[in-house]
Amino acid sequence: MAFGTALEPMNAATAAELAGRALENAAAEFTCVVERHRPQIFRFLLASTRDVDLAETLTQECFLKAHRNWGSFRGDSSAMTWLMRIAINLQKDHWRNRRMQFWRQTQTNAVDLDEASEWLASGEGSAEKHLLAREQVERVWQSVKGLSERQRTVFLLRYVEEQELSEIAQATGLSEGTVKAHLSRALGRVRAELGGRR
């Protein structure tokens, strides 16, 4: 009896210490996740919405939600895929819930396709090449604008984020076959846009 009472406080202290360490580890893990994946999530949301402020807001919400549910993340997929899934759902919810009516009205916050096309990677050779690249980018934006929400998501994940089909399927909750079908349709539209005006 005396043995048990002597050990019990020590066990409780150890358990508290272990719990504290686990919490510290979880916080450190999550900090790494934020530092590593935040730019990518922001980029995907920016490409989806063409609205910098909205993309920032949704990115914040995404990581807030991830932080709340970090304990339940089992690692079945990569952290990036898990985060992307949260971001896609947030984006969907954003356009669907009641507040969306307000956002729809202020959709003018999204930049024009011209403005979005102005951003080009530095290093283009001649002015002619630069102009050609800008025109191509504008046409791709034009075709992206005409895609359905799901097609756009799949297209951006594939050709901007360069994710594998399996990763896209996991992030979107679609089968690989469906992802391929969406990609094919999206590419067809891009091809038509580029070919039709060439």
Binding site: L46, V52, S78, M80, A121, V140, L187, L194
Partner: protein
Amino acid sequence: MSWMERLAGKPEKADGLGALAALHECEPGDLAVEEALKNFRLSVHAWSDAAYGRPRTAVQVVRHRSWRLAAGWALAGVLMAGGVSGGVYERHQKLEHAKIAAAARLAEQQRAVQEQQRLVREEQIQEEENLLAKVDSDVSRQVPSAMEPLAQLMDDQAK
């Protein structure tokens, strides 16, 4: 799977060859499409990098909050002042009513006293009048008999 492995994920491709190679796999390749997609990807990356690195304007949010805070305090102040002044006004009104009621009661009492005094005075006057009337009647009844001899004398001298 350790958390480091979970975090590691897939390294970002620098040249985008993976997706473009897949484009070849999915459908017959087209150089123009490939180039356009590459430019599109680089453009989005450039835009995102620029937007991600832009300075955040937190001042506006703070100002907005402070404005709300100030408005909240002002509203609370107005409500409090309204409540206090309402209470004071109500108390003042009660006091006024009490004063008026007291004055009315006093006036009523004074009126009653005056009425009583008037009744007493009237009663006294009445009593005095009655007394005088009695005296008058008594005197008027006695004088003629007392004056009888003088009247007869006056008559005799006239003859």
